[in-house]
Amino acid sequence: MFEAVAFYLFAFLTIAMFFIVVTTSQALFALSALAAGMIFISAFFFILGADFLGAVQIIVYTGAVMALYAFGMMFFDTTRDVKEKQGNKYIIVGLSTLAAVLVVVIFAMPMVSGNIVALYPGIDGVGNTQEIGLVLFTKYLIPFELAAIMLLVAMVAGIVLAGKKMDLSITLMNEAEIEEEKNKKVLS
């Protein structure tokens, strides 16, 4: 019973938060709602017994990714209202709903669920974190190392891309200075 209550509560909260993310015209609202949604997502992980994943979700998303976005937003002019795409909203919502329904149909059909055998079953008597560790550092060691390298590369790339001309800020420069900077083509 507790599980059901928790599920529906967090489901409602998550959907609401993410709905705000995609509908609000304020970038800061969107950012805050996204961060909240991420934390609520981690609640599902805890309910499902994936404690480690839940912790990682909170640390990585709300700790790292959201902080990164927050810092990134400092570069942009976020004071303005976000203009939305002028288009047929029915098409957008219709397409999304159709896609969602189709995915549900595919999953709900018994052809998926019938014959799945656990490849790496959970181990009795140990906690989730330990299980994860056992599988991750035996069966998934190489993907893990590759992910580490990828993160390093991404970090270097992020620094290289964003790091040029860090001392310049377009928001603080007047038009003439911006034109001058553009003509230099240093960033091309």
Binding site: I92, L95, L98, A99, L102, I106, M111
Partner: protein, 639 residues
Amino acid sequence: MEKYLYIALFAPLVSSLFSALFTATPKKLFTGIVASLLIFTSFIASTILLVHILKGGEPIHVTMMTWMATGDLYIPFGFVVDQISVTMMMVVTLVSTVVHVYSIGYMDHDKGFNRFFSWLSAFVFSMMILVMSDNYAGLFIGWEGVGLCSWGLIGFWFHKESATWAANEAFIMNRIADLGMLIGLFLIYWNTGTLQYDGAFTAFHELPAATLTWIGIFLFIGAMGKSAQFPLHTWLADAMEGPTPVSALIHAATMVTAGVYLVIRSHELYSLIPHVGLFIASLGTFVAIFAASMALVNRDMKRIIAYSTLSQLGYMFAAAGLGAYWVALFHLMAHAGFKALLFLGAGNVMHAMHDELDPFKMGGLKKVMKWTWIMMVIGSLALAGVIPFAGFFSKDTILEAAYSGNHMVIYGVLLFTAGLTAFYSFRLVALIFHGEERYKLFGIHPHEAYRFMLWAMSPLLLIAIGAGVLQTPFFDMVEEALNAHEYHIAHGTALIMLVGTQMFVGLAILYAYKKYANSRVTVPDGTSKMENSFMYKLLINQYYIPYAYEEYFVKPYRELSEVFWTKVDLKIVDATVDGIAAIIYGTGEKTRKMQSGNLSTMLTWMVAGLIGLLLLAVVFGLAARYSDEILVFLSALGV
């Protein structure tokens, strides 16, 4: 011994590929030298094989690899060196070695020097495949290969309109004949189930005579094309557009004799159908006199020799048709020697005269080109069949074969042709080397060819002089393979025949000298009485045969093509293709709006695509799940 076989076969290929590496670069002397050395290697290997065979060794038979094996069809890349093929190998490699060395000098100033050697060696390789193959399929590959190389070499100076025309003519004429040859091969395979010589020859004995006749006729059609027999003869004279060494190697010594080789190789077939053999002999005899008559009046040095080649091929076919296969092969061998010698000599003259071909514009070249003169005279003597030169032994044996077979018409015509041969050969020699020095009118300063070119020609000179002594050993060698036998004619008759023939030939030579070696010969201007006679016009226009071909085959074909072009190609084929293009173009034009470059729009399209794929997944998932029911349903509908 197998290794020598492979060396003999593949050295020319290596040579060709090596030269081909440099085709895009300016003249490199070493390509000529390397090519000549490799061909010479092939010659040495062939000689070793010849010695092996002469010593009574078993024929060498190797199967290199399987080429085709599907169902009952089994065609290997097999090669055989027996008495027949080793003779051909010797002829091919010897003449080609000579021609390669000679070409280093002849092609000295040509831009396509490297390309020339590549083609020439490729030709030798194809020819070796042709003569060494142990089955008809391999022979056909070589057959097509020499055709291709001949095309490339006739059209070697492809910037000349006439050269490309001649190359195409030769190629197309050969295609027509090759169709006949292919039908022959199909018939052989159809009836015997194999294309191997051994298997097919054994199976021929079981077949009905009518089938054999058809096989023999179709194979001979192929031989007619390659050996330029009437009515497919016109390409050979036009092929003289190619460089002279090419004419010597391909259009005198080797490729054109491939037809004769085919008949000799298939002698077990033709000995079963003597009536076809008689037809071959008759056609050969006809071509002999027909070509010789055209050579009488022609004013193009190379064409005269080409017609003489045609005539001699006629002799070979006459011999082969009468069952004297060994004589045909021997004449082929001797002819390769002296005809190549004549062509190379003509090449020297051409070089000296700055590519002038009309012998009437020469004269008196004896003084400046002594060695060429000697070679040409000996070559002509050999060609005319004067004792004791090469042609005497081979040609006289053909006459003996005709006589002893009681084919008096063939004998008579061939004898008369021998006189014509002597006349036109020495007409040419007299016009070029004797008499007034008419070339001075045209401001030409002739000079003798390079010394090494003359040395290169010397092996051919030896053959032209001394091939007669080879007759007995040659007979011993091929006696068993070709079922050969000597022709015995009563001693007195033989002596009369010999003296009569020699006197006839001698008179013809003397007449030619008397008429053309004096100072009264001038460059004809179309006004003399002879030039306006009917016979002269008929002969100089080659019996109007090229004209007739042009008029009755080429022009109607062109008109037909024109109709097909405007009606079928433009209105149906092109329209279809254009229509497809227009549809695709129109679709592109219409859907171009999708590519607005706006990321949001593209993302929307992406989602639409995703939905499409998901729908497909659902549909196929359902179909897979309920496939049995669907089948039942469909069968109920009667599908």
